[in-house]
């Protein structure tokens, strides 16, 4: 037992490093990488909380990568922190081959995985379909103020949107002042989920309180955070008595908010995906009168990414699958609200002509506001430390007050 513990302690000090084999892989032509991926299994971990997303992956992507590349794509459920914990445990245990080859991540997970050097790269430049990605777009090429540097590949792009039922709320509040007035007129009908989406709303408000635009651009600034978060807590605390349950407790998930919205316990809900309304109406979850809107002061727009663990056993397979997932064909299908409704990361002007018209056609929305309409109100994600601090301080400064 002592020996086992000693091994664990020693292994705990290990950090992954790039091996010669990995360097070689990045030097290979992509055709060779794809041929190396033939007849292999790729283990992917991703959030599986939405039936449409799951269907897109299991009913279309999995059979497609099997028939095109003879790759068995095995998908396991798990998101942000779970992926970090899996990879962290493997690093601490000194595991040479990770159980994961591919994972769906975004900013704060990217930040954590880079902290523990758990990501493989830079690999995106090696993907042929990366030529279509709009890397110049700051909402795609930069993740939570961190340069992507080829260590994760953009997969989808979304913007935070509020959701109301146009029958119950024909004139939703569009500014923070209007929100305050609306809360007072409709007590108990609004809340903030104490998770990623809720924290994204808080970041949007914090940027608005800072004057909007690029106020929180750049690395984490403790002074700025202290000043702005004080304003934010004051704003929330002076209004929280009008929140659901008088702001004494907050739902743990946005799914719980959706349920309360449908039950008419809440009049507003929210989503990190600006086209989720159409997606949820399609699933008969939301009423057909539901619609999305964004605040005039802006809401956060961000991208989600695909990453390859540094110790992934099948990096060639993972790169092949990622290249397929960012192909115009896969992105177009994913963009369709009937399929998923996830914003594309591809630049329209870079796409082959035959795809451009199709992308424009599929981009049309029914109950969700058009992306072009809300784009001017898009705010960039601030550095990940803001999220970490907001999450902790929301408990201390709001919930425990």
């Amino acid at each position: 037992m002592t020996l086992g513990l000693l091994m664990m302690v020693l292994n705990g000090c290990n950090h992954p490093s790039k091996t010669g084999i990995e360097t070689d892989l990045l030097d290979l032509p992509f055709e060779t990488i794809t041929s190396k991926a033939q007849n292999t299994t790729v283990h992917m971990m991703m959030w599986q909380g939405d039936p449409l997303i799951n269907q897109y992956m299991s009913d279309w992507v999995v059979p497609e990568v099997k028939s095109r590349f003879n790759i068995d794509l095995q998908i396991a459920p798990g998101q942000g922190t779970e992926i970090v914990k899996v990879l962290l445990s493997e690093i601490e245990a000194g595991k040479k081959n990770s159980n994961l080859d591919l994972c769906w991540i975004n900013g704060e997970t990217f930040f954590q995985l880079r902290q523990i050097q758990a990501l493989f790269g830079p690999f995106t430049a090696r993907l042929p379909n990366a030529q279509y990605i709009d890397f110049q777009n700051p909402f795609i090429g930069i993740d939570f103020q961190q340069p992507v540097d080829g260590y994760e590949c953009p997969w989808g792009n979304v913007q935070l949107a509020l959701i109301c039922d146009s029958l119950r709320t024909p004139n939703p509040p569009l500014t923070m002042d209007e929100l305050e007035k609306w809360w007072r007129k409709n007590p108990g009908k609004f809340t903030i989920p104490y998770e990623f989406t809720g924290m994204t709303l808080l970041k949007s408000w914090m940027i608005a309180l800072a004057g909007g635009g690029n106020a929180l651009d750049g690395p984490f600034d403790q002074k700025k955070y202290a000043m702005l978060s004080a304003k934010l807590w004051e704003f929330i605390n002076r209004n929280k008595r009008y929140f659901w349950r008088k702001g004494e407790t907050f739902p743990e998930s946005v799914a719980a908010m959706h349920t309360m919205f449908v039950n008419q316990e809440l009049d507003l809900t929210m989503s990190n995906n600006d086209s989720e309304v159409d997606n949820k109406i399609q699933q008969n979850i939301f009423p057909t009168t539901a619609k999305s809107f964004v605040l005039k002061s802006g809401t956060i727009q961000n991208s989600h990414f695909l990453g390859i663990p540094a110790q992934a056993a099948n990096k060639a397979g993972a790169m092949t699958v990622i290249n397929f997932l960012i192909s115009p064909e896969a992105q177009l299908r994913k963009l369709n609200p009937k399929v998923w409704g996830d914003g594309s990361v591809l630049a329209m002007d870079k796409l082959p002509a035959e795809f451009q018209a199709q992308f424009l056609e599929v981009s049309k929305r029914k109950n969700s506001t058009m992306r072009a309409t809300i784009q001017p109100f898009a705010l960039k994600e601030p550095a990940p430390e803001y999220m970490v601090r907001l999450y902790e301080d929301f408990r201390k400064k709001v919930i425990e007050q």
Partner: protein
């Protein structure tokens, strides 16, 4: 002898060693000795844990919820047994008592959610009957400040087990005959309950009750779904530290698990010692 030694070795290898190594690992992590982001031995994580008001309120809340649920379940079970002992022995009632045992904590929590929530069944009936105008007027029975929903659900899961156990003890101790003898000797109904039945039943149920206290103290799914973010029960507090966005909170989470294990070990040790002393005195 060889067989006994092999049994002990088997127990140590498969039961004690994994737990002990996990405990040591958590201890080393909590002192910054190991971990991908560790910077060397430090007391800082322990200091951060003790400085966190959330930790102390989680500790107090867990003890309060566990104790209250335990006493409530025991009280309910004893009342049910002593007033309806014959009815409980009937096949249908005996079977019905087993039903809550088929519910997992998660399912029980969801059931409570569906029944007690502001838009749940009770609220809808109450509005239908004109007792309340809007769903918001219905009293908060889940995610409430007094942890009513949590205590209700945990009691729902606990008291049938206690009732079944007490019924078994009642029969094993032959309390029916003893009560008749006491009555023949002139004992009042109150004397029979407080001097004959309760002491015998409580003596038998105490070890199980203590184990249940440990189970309730560490309850997770029910407080996660039906509790609040502040205060939160210890298990939820620890999982938040493990699962949320701050990697530097990991050693604090490990400190908390080490403390939890020590607390439970102390509790069990204290009871073991007490039981041994009591046995020696007899």
């Amino acid at each position: 002898m060889l067989k006994r030694n092999l049994t002990v070795l088997f127990f140590l290898s498969f039961a004690v060693a994994p737990l002990a190594s996990g405990f040591v690992y958590a201890g080393l992590y909590s002192f910054g000795v190991i971990g991908a982001l560790s910077t060397g031995f430090t007391f800082n994580h322990w200091a951060a844990l003790f400085e966190d008001q959330g930790f102390w309120s989680a500790l107090a809340l867990s003890m309060g919820v566990a104790l209250f649920t335990l006493l409530l379940s025991l009280g309910l079970s004893l009342t049910l047994l002593l007033s309806l002992q014959r009815e409980l022995e009937q096949r249908v009632n005996y079977f019905l008592l087993h039903l809550p045992l088929a519910l997992s904590s998660l399912v029980a929590a969801f059931l409570s959610f569906q029944w007690l929530g502001n838009t749940g069944m009770l609220a809808r009936w109450a509005i239908h009957l004109g007792l309340f105008e809007k769903s918001q007027d219905f009293p908060e029975l889940i995610n409430d400040a007094h942890y009513f929903g949590v205590i209700f659900t945990l009691t729902l899961l606990t008291f049938p087990i206690f009732t079944l156990l007490l019924l078994r003890f009642y029969q094993a101790e032959n309390l029916s005959s003893l009560s008749q003898v006491a009555a023949t000797l002139g004992a009042s109904s109150k004397d029979i309950i407080f001097r004959v039945q309760l002491p015998a039943l409580l003596r038998r149920i105490t070890p199980t009750a203590l184990l249940y206290f440990v189970f309730l103290f560490g309850a997770y799914e029910v407080p996660l779904l039906l509790g609040r973010q502040s205060p939160m029960m210890w298990s939820v507090y620890v999982s938040q530290k493990f699962k949320k966005f701050n990697l530097s909170d990991l050693p604090i989470a490990y400190s908390s698990t080490v403390l939890y294990t020590l607390f439970i070990l102390l509790l069990v040790g204290w009871f073991w010692n007490k039981a041994a002393v009591s046995k020696a005195e007899q």
